[in-house]
């Protein structure tokens, strides 16, 4: 069994339901995302169109994150899912440096690496991932890519020639496919990021990796402090700073 994902970008309408469902299902903290939907405007006025690209972990068959993890916190499950054991993670961020898709984040509450696990806990119970269930247009198709009769295999066969993966040149063999994508939607270098230009916010880059309110000394003191009880309170502070989380170094 090899579980995979396919997103039909022709169907996706950018409602962000999957993003919200993922947040709720996995209790993803503020400033972190396992799944996000990126809006991309293509063309020049009046000949423009807006494209929506859901982005999550690709669960690569040859995963660079799994290879670089020094303690096997990132590991394969038998069904092909690249899972994370946050109890073992040392927080070296090697996986964040290795993942060509930027799919891994440092959880600001646990200070360990985390990412989409295809809702492994739900899959284990015979349920579909939360983002699949919530999608109103069934743009997310999930299943066993090694089973010819599965929905995803049928979909791939029906759309032969237009099924793509991100960054195939990295030889990571992603198990996350797109139908209806193009270079402008799947290649980040084909997109312009104009700093401060965004529909609803101007926060383009995070200043912090992990918990912004726990510096180097706090990392050593954490086991002896009350921070052991995780909550979102420390993450709420950044809103009071006037949203100054823009990173002047960032952008492309």
């Amino acid at each position: 069994m090899k579980l995979g994902f396919l997103v039909d970008l022709n169907l996706c309408m950018g409602c962000k339901g999957c993003e919200v469902a993922c947040k709720v299902e996995n209790e993803v903290p503020l400033s972190s995302w396992r799944l996000r939907v990126k809006y991309i405007d293509i063309g020049t006025f009046p000949d423009t169109k807006r494209s929506f690209t859901p982005l999550r972990c690709n669960h690569c068959e040859s995963a660079p994150c799994e290879r670089i993890c020094p303690v096997s916190a990132l590991h394969y499950l038998e069904n092909g899912i690249v899972n994370v054991d946050s109890a073992r993670c040392i927080g070296c961020a090697g996986c964040m440096m290795a993942c060509p898709y930027g799919a891994i984040y440092m959880d600001p509450e646990t200070n360990t690496a985390d990412k989409c696990t295809y809702c492994a806990h739900r899959v284990e119970s015979g349920m579909m991932p939360a983002c699949v269930v919530i999608c109103p247009v069934q743009a997310n198709i999930f299943g066993d890519v090694e089973d010819d009769t599965s929905n995803i295999s049928q979909y791939i066969m029906a759309h032969q020639g237009s099924v793509q993966v991100r960054k195939p040149e990295k030889h990571t063999e992603p198990k996350h496919f797109y139908v209806g994508g193009g270079r402008q939607t799947l290649d980040p270098l084909a997109q312009q990021r104009i700093e401060g230009y965004s529909l609803f916010n101007n926060i383009t880059h995070l200043d912090h990796v992990g918990d912004p309110n726990h510096g180097v000394i706090d990392r050593f003191l954490a086991p002896f402090s009350s921070h052991g009880t995780h909550d979102n309170s420390s993450m709420m502070d950044w809103t009071e700073k006037g949203g100054k989380e823009t990173h002047e170094e960032g952008g492309h």
Partner: protein, 314 residues
């Protein structure tokens, strides 16, 4: 909108906040300190091969001592950069051998342990009046010969210890600029540069010939380091990602300034100072060259570490 774009181009109009620099100055310092810690052993071994011990009276104890200090700086910042520093032990309890981080941590730990032994033996041998009744000092002095026995192995181990960070960078598949062959050579030259620079600072009472050899190693290391950086800076256009990464230095700004300061201070100026010093032995100028080289090396490493992290990956 002011920015007129081509019809085939695209603009991101809504996205989440992306991570900024993930591996920052602590990793730069980590790499820099490791270059000094391993470099003094490699350059020290070269000097011991070329010259008599009497020509470099303090080398036997100062070499492992400098290495010990800088390896501990390296290990301290390796630990400090972890978000879960106490779990560092997992590298030893649950090692994952495909990871260069794991292999490197094991090798660096062994290397540091051996350097500690050498530093103790070297120090207590060189200072017979210090702690005469201390058990540790007595044991170190009683096993003086052990220093020479483990030294060849330590020199051999210094090579992979200094190079493994290049493999970590190569395993960082998301950062196209870091290619294994280039990074391996950069790390090797960095070790020779940092090692010769550090030893120059303690070579005041050494023979002129030994100091000339140090100047030679510094000149060669700065020359080839500079050539490597120039090759990468101007001709790393084999992939669109490397090209986009280098745009962060090519287009001006703070990284451009830091990079060229690093090149001028760390490689160009020390090269000419070291070459001139091979003809006329000027200790002050050579020390100046060594300090410049160490500062410039840090700056060059810092830029090369950070710019690939600024590229949006998705």
């Amino acid at each position: 909108m002011e920015n007129a774009i081509h019809a085939t181009q695209a603009i991101v109009t809504l996205d989440v906040a992306l991570p900024g620099i993930i591996w920052g100055w602590m990793i730069t310092l980590n790499m820099w300190a490791k270059s000094v810690g391993t470099g003094v052993i490699l350059v020290g071994a070269f000097l011991l091969y070329r010259h008599k011990k009497e020509e470099m009276p303090n080398l036997r104890w100062m070499m492992p001592l400098i290495s010990f200090i800088f390896l501990n700086i390296f290990l301290l910042f390796t630990l400090t950069d972890l978000h879960q520093p106490y779990r560092m032990i997992n590298i030893f309890l649950h090692p994952h051998w495909t990871s260069a981080i794991t292999v490197g941590a094991w090798m660096a730990s062994l290397f540091t342990a051996l350097i500690t032994v050498m530093a103790l033996i070297g120090f207590f041998d060189a200072h017979p009046d210090v702690r005469k009744n201390c058990t540790l000092a007595k044991t170190a002095r009683a096993n003086s010969g052990f220093y020479e026995k483990i030294f060849p192995f330590v020199v051999f181990l210094a090579i992979p210890v200094t190079l493994y960070t290049a493999i970590i960078m190569a395993e960082s598949s998301a950062r196209e600029l870091w290619q294994a062959p280039a990074e391996v050579m950069q790390m090797m030259w960095a070790a020779l540069l940092a090692g010769s620079a550090a030893l120059i600072l303690i070579s005041g009472k050494w023979s002129q010939e030994a100091r000339r050899d140090l100047a030679l190693v510094l000149a060669i290391a700065t020359f080839f380091s500079f050539m490597m950086y120039m090759g990468e800076y101007f001709f790393s256009f084999k992939s669109s990602e490397a090209e986009a990464t280098l745009a962060y230095v090519h287009s001006g700004g703070e990284y451009n300034v830091e990079f060229w300061f690093g090149m001028a201070l760390g490689f160009i100026a020390p090269f000419f100072l070291a070459v001139s010093n091979m003809k006329s032995d000027n200790k002050t100028l050579l020390r100046f060259a060594a300090i410049l080289a160490l500062i410039g090396l840090y700056m060059a490493k810092d830029v090369w570490l950070k710019i690939p992290q600024m590229l949006p990956l998705s």
